[in-house]
């Protein structure tokens, strides 16, 4: 299925990418993260386990166990620092 991914802040800069659409067999957000780190390079580094990465599914904060659906929007970003 196709999902739309958005990257923000330090992760967006490290990947030099703000958004992409990927065709994935991932079932959960955790699977998708693993798929992306499997690309190696900047993806492996900035999305690695142990790095502080927060996720959103369809613009709502989500756990990695959340299930993907066709056309979902997934956000990957560092801890938020507004206010």
């Amino acid at each position: 299925m196709k999902v739309n991914i958005r990257y923000f802040a330090s992760i967006r800069e490290a990947l030099d990418c703000g958004a992409e659409t990927v065709d994935t067999s991932a079932v959960t957000l955790a699977d998708l993260r693993d798929e992306l780190t499997g690309r190696g390079g900047a993806y492996a580094e900035s999305l690695a386990r142990g790095r502080a990465v927060r996720l959103a599914l369809n613009q709502v904060m989500a756990d990695e166990s959340a299930a993907l659906t066709e056309g979902a929007e997934v956000g990957f970003f560092p801890p938020v620092t507004g206010g």
């Binding site: 802040a9 330090s10 613009q59 560092p78 938020v80 507004g82 206010g83």
Partner: protein, 157 residues
Amino acid sequence: MDARVSIQTEDFDLSIELAALRRDDGRVGAVCSFVGTVRDRNDGQSVSTMELEHYPGMTERAIEAMIDEAHRRFDIVGARVIHRVGLLQPLDQIVLVAVSSAHRGESFQACEFLMDYLKIQAPFWKKEQTPQGARWVDARVSDDAAAAKWGLQASNA
């Protein structure tokens, strides 16, 4: 109904916002506001400019949900949140949270609640320019602690 949430590059005027929030509403007996501003130092380094990035769409949605939660928890009349994005300078205003209620206690509490909630859940990121170069601001454990006192899941930092 006036907008409750605005994400904008432009500055805001506190007195105009508070007047709009009160709207000649006779139920209102208290208005409490918080304004966050850009400091010229952070973590021991001077800051020349600050750039704020956000997640368009999610930001507005997240803050709207926070205001709904504030209405559930506190007996308030209205709330207004403005958060600036883009390039800011020291002394600039960054964020406004304003709340109206019949009595002061609810406004004070709801204002602090909204600000603490925003700090750990609204998708904004700050990047500072310092003499040593640009750096992304790290989330603070103290912000998680502030949110935890409201029973909010605090795991941002």
